[in-house]
Symmetry: D2
Subunit: 333 residues, 4 copies
């Protein structure tokens, strides 16, 4: 950690600060510049409250030189991680398409869509049973019944299930789910993350609307530090001033995350844009930008979808897209 | 709800859409302008998926004309609500100062600070027992033990307790807490909100870092629709590009929320700025801008605080601030 | 234009507003809903101050149903525009790569880079002679001398020149430049835009850091309404809370702009990310997302570049990228 | 400047970088930590391209320890600056109210409003003659004629004039203006800033919609470095995701700017919120937060204002506000 002192600090105050830092067990390297003094802190700096030090009157700024994430840090895990879901491999060159409806509505619907997306090349199936809704008056999913319908569709197609968990207390219901998705609003639900760390099941962790990449990685760290290393990250758009799309898909996060972590990076163009006709170009862009996979909403009858129909592709649109995705993968992989 | 069709839409497609909307039980008023056709939808439009309609090729835009929040809507509750916590009244002209340390650390600390802030004019005491932390490796609060220490401080001073709940399953521990605070990261933890609606206890609901005022109101609606109307809202800074403060305190939210809702509005300048020396000017600004109360971090020994010391005032600083706050209240109330 | 009145407005106030609107020459359609009254305004609503109407106490909200941009609006110009620069065609299926150094530094530098990028497939050359710099103490470009060096490089390679103009008074120096670039900071320098409208020369208009797509289109409208229709738009990143890249490249703007306007859309991954190693994935993503072209910084010796070296590719990196770009174009065009 | 190298960098690459930095005339202090090596650069680091160094593969991060602004930096000018406009003093405890209509419309209008705001306590008068407009089709001000009308109002009331300049070439028309205002969109029009530096006239420099405080200070530095030190800064709202107000007034910028610079800080609640009924609470908040002055739109007939009427107060509203502002000043000064 580096502490930059303000210009013209008295020797007495400087000595006080250094004594306080030494009392925390740190060694201090002092470097006097022409305008400012810089302290280099060596030792276990994890106990130092960076905001507190930065708030001291004599301090200009503080900078950590070691990142606070370890288990998901590529520095310590140079090889890309492969997450396995049944026979499906994700990451380290293995690309995955996850597709399905926003909400599970009926057996017929989920089975029909699952068959269609499988035929088009999806290797995992998505479908919401528990739905986060801004309004208490909106449809919140079929819940346990929805999970049962997903299992029927899995039996019919062989596609593993990806579905969202919102509440720790629902965990028992998710025992037979293949991948648990954590939505943007729960990215920093820390108690939930800790529980996920006790499972032996892959987690698809979505980036929060206003979260930095570092915060996303720290949330992955919560899961991994509790014992479950099978984490996939998902970029799904951030909240900005731009109002033409629901959120702003931050695609440069994909190559940047690849630098920072060895975990697989999935992109969700459906929720990011909220507009079906923007999904294909953004899915292709994400593929070209190096994503390890896509999660895409597909509905057999968008005009009657109970939820988020606006962003769902029809199966034939998904099939056409999937073909182009494969062609682009050939170029960029 | 108003649906604006695109220029040059065919009569056939227009008729199809109208038929579909009518099938949802709505009456449709058609208004043909020079460039565009506008449909006015009358009836229960809560079943209409606005995003879906907006995504249709023939539709230019859609606009709801009735707000989706009812129970917290000032339109239907013109008189400001007073929330009572013991003898303390909040809202409708009753101003409250809530103060205390970020984290509860020891009996001595919490009792000392509670006495100091009471002497300075605070009528509620804050203190974190369960702490949300970005990193799994950081101090996460004394938890149940911290709640016990808060109760000791309450016994010593008579100040009611405001403290944060993060996990539904911890609710039994909070039975004897006076006000439950829901932090920014849990503002859209919908299952948690529903549970809070079953309590007979005031809730202090903080705005999420990237949440609009409407979303904040919808989260209050979750609690109120489940049966608990004693909700206070808290502005605590939003995430923007601006990087000099931790977050950007959005003070114009205060008068705007007063227009939209009858609930009391509290401001937290400590977490918004993250810098102790900005807390007094922003506390005064919030008061002048019409807040119903302030929640401020005060610590007896900031340099040793385990958490967030950078944003805590010393008791004497808080006392000086409180005096000015009262003077400004005289002018603006 | 649609004006939604608040619930419970008195008949008298409603009549006053209607009379005032009629006095502006508009016809008013009144639609009384169960909760609210909606006024449809028909006629030339461009004279109505939408913010003023929205601010009236009896008004809930106002919505324009016709877009304020005409000349750059695809509704009125369904066919994509082709901008021609010498023999080079841009738009409507014609893809362009524009490449070159951030700043022109010397004849040797610009000629070397121009030859290299031409060999790699660039058909226009970029290079800054007038440089916008945040600090008055930083290198601001070779100015007139830089323009002369660009012309030498054009003579040697045949590549047309794209270079930035910052000041109306420098226009005479740009007479022999092929495409004038307007930077993000000048996107709303309206007097400058008007002057550009008097030229017979293509303009590359970059989106401002905090500008919506509508504002970008209105700035194009300034140029076009003054007589020059040869405008190309450029997405180059917006300012958000996200801090890993210099700006956040908003790639969904590409397909959205294609819907809204018939003008060509170029993407600048170099300035958006500010990091050379993110340029190739983002250039590929932009291509896959439907951009009509790329503008990329290339430098023969990044470590000595006077400016923005961090985001420049070496010629061989650009050549490798260009090959993949062409392959992706085959798939998406 | 501090350069943090990545973990595990080879000695050879480290030596190359050090040699390159030494060749730039710098002395290098090397500090080897347990995980990383940190280089302290001593000497004139203004020639070092921080982005370039940061982009090198072996570099983890770079941090400047001296701020790039000098002339507007409080470190070097500890006493607050007083800007004098005729007899009016601004800054260092001198508070100013600037008021007037958005646009100058007629002699009667501007004289009436000027008299009214003078009577209410304004000591400077604002009024737009040259108006920046997003659309080329909107009213852009009376221009030279508007400036003449302002002078008439000044003659009638004695109030000095504050009005916006958009174009270098209009400077001769502004010779007899008392304070030149530079709008948000021109905050980084660097050639314009340089010209302002050659004047002997106070400048009111507004913060751009997406500009950091550091960028605002760098723009002030442009003016001051060219010779004109009489600069006042103006916070007028930033662009964020929040959509209830036109922009988000960033009031914590006021105390933060006071720390960073000795220049006076003015706040514009009218443009920040865009809603007249939010102007009084935000004006009071700005005063309580430590602003040196307010600039407020006042119109004698808001419903007929040609521009921005939605955010204008009526004279009697301004008078009531001014009284409260003075009372709050008594408390916070």
């Amino acid at each position: 950690m580096i502490v930059v002192l303000k210009h013209g600090v008295s020797e007495e105050k400087k000595a006080q600060l250094i004594a306080w830092l030494q009392a925390l067990g740190l060694r201090i390297h002092i470097s006097d510049g022409e305008f400012q003094t810089v302290l280099g802190l060596v030792g276990d700096t994890s106990t130092v409250d960076i905001d507190l030090v930065e708030s001291l009157e004599i301090v200009d700024s503080v900078k950590r030189v070691t990142e606070p994430f370890k288990m998901c840090n590529r520095k310590f895990h140079p090889e890309s991680m492969v997450v396995e879901v049944g026979d499906v491999k994700i990451g380290a060159g293995n690309f995955v398409m996850i597709a399905g409806p926003c909400s599970v509505e009926s057996e017929e619907q989920i089975v029909t869509v699952a068959k269609a997306v499988k035929a088009a090349g999806a290797s995992l199936m998505r479908g919401g049973a528990f739905k986060p809704r801004t309004s208490p008056y909106d449809f919140a999913g079929l819940k346990a019944e929805g999970l049962e319908l997903l299992k029927i569709a899995r039996k019919e197609t062989g596609l593993p299930i990806v579905t969202e968990l919102m509440n720790i207390n629902d965990l028992p219901l998710f025992e037979d789910v293949d991948v648990i998705q954590i939505g943007a609003r729960n990215m920093q639900n820390f108690d939930l993350l800790r529980e996920l760390g006790k499972l032996d099941k892959p987690i698809l962790l979505k980036r929060g609307l206003a979260n930095t990449l570092k915060e996303l990685l720290m949330s992955a760290e919560y899961i991994m530090a509790s014992g479950n290393e099978r984490v996939m990250l998902c970029e799904r758009g951030i909240r900005t001033f731009s109002d033409y799309t629901r959120n702003t898909l931050d695609l440069s996060a994909v190559p940047m995350l690849h630098e920072l972590t060895h975990l697989p990076i999935i992109v969700d163009p459906s929720h990011a844009t909220g507009i079906a006709r923007l999904v294909p170009p953004m899915a292709l862009a994400a593929t070209a930008g190096g994503a390890d996979g896509l999660i895409i909403e597909v509905h057999n009858d968008p005009i009657h979808a109970l939820c988020d129909g606006a962003q769902s592709l029809r199966p034939e649109e998904f099939a056409a897209l999937a073909e182009k995705v494969r062609a682009i993968r050939e170029i960029v992989k």
